[in-house]
């Protein structure tokens, strides 16, 4: 069997089967189990390497051909697949606790499969098409059948669709740049096209306005999943461009532009988050700031780009999952996530509130939590390159911290003599507690990520040199 069949075709089929044949109450368990098994298979069986078990020799071949093009997952991709499907399993198991519709698990599996296909397809620039398809599949999750589509959803689909032509055309132009690297005009045009494509895909300032809108109008759990899945794969896609084209990697102007985009995102998102009165929108701004940090990491003039980027990506999945699950629990009580509606809920939903606040603090880079080690690594690299940039990043993260304290203040602002109670279900409390423990583990002993991080640079050979 080949790797693309296992990690692309099987989840695609499983997603479709869950949608049509699995009862709602079992879909989270089945989907989570499928993702867990796929993560375990990726961990145990190396791709394209013969494994001898007793007298049985097993080898997962690396590639498969579709319409004359290769879909290829190599040995180095194995670690990435463990992370992707491991985090996806976490999201799918969480759906039971979040109380959202069962098609989240089925469509979620299909989305993850399509996004995995985006890292497997060759030439890799075709990934833009697969990312667009995944973005379209998110729409039924964002807009339930009974709800009119809001402006955020419309803008989301517009921006994601606009990204695709820019990236495909830039990819074609880049082949011309490779053929004649001295052509400054062509290089500039290709760079601009590529930049526009990724600006739309990642929601770079000012194209991120759909994210806080979704935070307000869509289910927090679906929004959280979207904000984890799409940027994660887009960043991997972008790293592929950096790795493949020397001139992008070595151009100081481009590196400066990438850093500037990242800094503006972190600073603006942090400052906007500090003034919000809706905790769904605050999560959106925190995700934007995190994406800004990822972009900043990609713009570092350092051999540590891959390590720092993945150091950010792994906790991001956990932070957003915990935060989104906490918000889902709160939303079932409060309906709206406005400050006025959630006042004093800490006494009714203590576990959910603790989880939300800790996930929020983690995304601000609070010590002892999962977000701290990657931010420390970024500070270390940034401080040696530009103190001005470091200051603006600090300001952005300070804005996020202010919004965390404001949220906490609203949650504990209960009427006097209101009794403490525990209204989360056992599943919700259990999932949130596991998530919070995970946040502390990644913060206190970040070495647990080392087995994964040590192998990931092999994915991007040139970037790691």
């Amino acid at each position: 069997m080949s790797a693309p069949v296992i990690w692309i075709l099987i989840p695609l089929v499983a997603g479709a089967l869950i949608l049509f044949f699995v009862p709602e109450r079992l879909s989270a368990i089945v989907g989570g189990a499928v993702a867990t098994v796929l993560a375990l298979v990726a961990m145990i069986f190396p791709i394209d390497t013969a494994l001898l078990i007793s007298t049985l020799s097993i080898k997962i071949s690396a590639s498969v051909q579709v319409f004359g093009r290769n879909f290829s997952l190599n040995t180095a991709d194995g670690t990435l697949l463990v992370i992707i499907y491991g985090l996806a399993a976490l999201w799918f198991f969480g759906t039971q606790a979040s109380g959202i519709a069962n098609r989240f698990v089925s469509l979620g599996l299909i989305i993850v499969a399509l996004l995995t296909a985006s890292i497997a397809v060759e030439p890799f620039l075709y990934a833009a098409l697969l990312i667009e398809m995944a973005a379209m599949l998110v729409i039924p999750l964002l807009v339930p059948q009974y709800q009119k589509p809001g402006r955020g959803v419309i803008r989301f689909i517009i921006y994601q669709t606009l990204a695709m032509p820019f990236i495909l055309f830039a990819g074609w132009m880049l082949t011309g740049v490779e053929a004649s690297p001295g052509d400054i005009g062509l290089t500039t045009q290709a760079g601009a096209m590529l930049g526009m494509g990724f600006a739309f895909l990642l929601g770079i300032f000012p194209l991120y306005n759909w994210i806080p809108m979704l935070g307000k109008e869509a289910s927090p759990y679906v929004t959280g999943f979207l904000l984890w899945a799409l940027p994660t794969f887009t960043v991997i896609f972008a790293l592929g461009f950096l790795d493949r084209y020397t001139w992008i990697r070595t151009s100081p102007q481009l590196s400066g532009a990438i850093q500037l985009a990242g800094v503006i995102m972190v600073a603006s998102a942090g400052l906007f988050a500090a003034t919000q009165k809706h905790i769904g929108r605050i999560m959106g701004y925190a995700a934007i700031a995190e994406t800004g940090l990822l972009i900043l990491a990609m713009g570092l003039r350092s051999a540590e780009i891959v390590n720092v980027t993945f150091l950010l990506l792994i906790p991001r999945g956990l932070e957003l999952a915990v935060w989104a699950l906490g918000l889902s629990v709160i939303k079932r009580e409060a309906f709206s996530l406005q400050f006025s509606e959630i006042r004093g809920l800490a006494r009714k939903y203590p576990v959910a509130v603790i989880a939300i606040i800790l996930a929020h603090l983690s995304m601000t880079g609070f010590p002892l939590l999962a977000g701290f080690p990657p931010r420390l690594a970024i500070w270390q690299e940034l401080a040696s390159q530009s103190l001005v940039t470091s200051f603006w990043v600090f300001l952005g993260l300070l804005g996020l911290l202010v919004s965390a304290f404001r949220t906490l203040a609203v949650f504990v602002m209960a009427e006097e003599k209101t009794a403490w109670s525990w209204n989360e279900s056992w599943i919700q409390a259990g999932m949130l507690t596991i998530g919070v423990i995970g946040l502390f583990i990644l913060g206190l002993v970040p070495q647990v990520m080392q087995p994964f991080l040590s192998k990931l640079p092999a994915l991007f050979e040139h970037l790691s040199q």
């Binding site: 709602e24 729409i139 059948q145 709800q147 689909i157 032509p165 055309f169």
Partner: protein, 204 residues
């Protein structure tokens, strides 16, 4: 020579269809214009791609039109939205289309000089569609018009991209993307029009 004349005629069709889609407020005319656009696109695409691949694009496009049309037909009880700008809005639309035409006329020969072999007709048709698609997206938040704008813009891109990339996989993925956009449009059009009793069914 005859092929060139037919190609210019297709560019004229594209311009007429774009104008109709942009100016008209009747969804039937808009979808008919989209169908005409797909036919013209089919012709321009087959200048660079095999007939079968062009035909696949045409069939996909018409499937999208059918999906959107059937959905919109089932929502016929909805009131037609009045153009808030009225007659002046139509003139504004015509001026915008004229700007796109002028930009196309100016840019097409330059693009032909940068990428020789594409053909002026292909570039002109592509730029017209991209331009009108973007105008659509910039001026409206109406779901159907947004989807029409995206499809128009994508169609314009496909015409030019077909000239530089002939991969079957890409053609297939672009077809799926078009079809997906059509289905997303249909879904968004119907969302919110069903009974609110479905709320309970959506929750576990």
């Amino acid at each position: 020579m005859a092929l060139d004349i037919i190609s210019w005629a297709m560019v004229a069709f594209i311009l007429a269809a774009s104008c109709a889609m942009f100016i008209s407020r009747d969804w039937r005319i808009q979808l008919s214009a989209l169908a005409v656009q797909y036919f013209a696109t089919f012709w321009l695409v087959t200048r660079h791609l095999p007939f079968a691949m062009g035909a696949a694009k045409l069939v996909t496009g018409w499937m999208v039109v059918a999906a959107l049309g059937m959905t919109r037909l089932s929502l016929s009880e909805l009131e037609e939205k009045e153009d808030p700008l009225g007659q002046r809005g139509q003139w504004f639309s015509i001026i915008l289309i004229m700007i796109v035409v002028f930009v196309t006329a100016g840019a097409a020969p330059r693009i032909e000089a940068i990428i020789p072999g594409l053909g002026l007709q292909v570039i002109a048709g592509s730029l017209l569609l991209i331009g009108t698609g973007l105008i659509h997206l910039g001026l409206t938040s109406d779901t159907l018009r947004v989807i029409l704008g995206l499809l128009t813009m994508l169609t314009g891109f496909e015409i030019m991209y077909a000239a530089v990339e002939s991969s079957i996989l890409v053609a297939g993925l672009l077809a799926i993307t078009n079809l997906g956009l059509g289905l997303v449009g249909s879904y968004l059009l119907t969302a919110g029009s069903t009974s609110t009793t479905n709320v309970d069914e959506e929750q576990i």
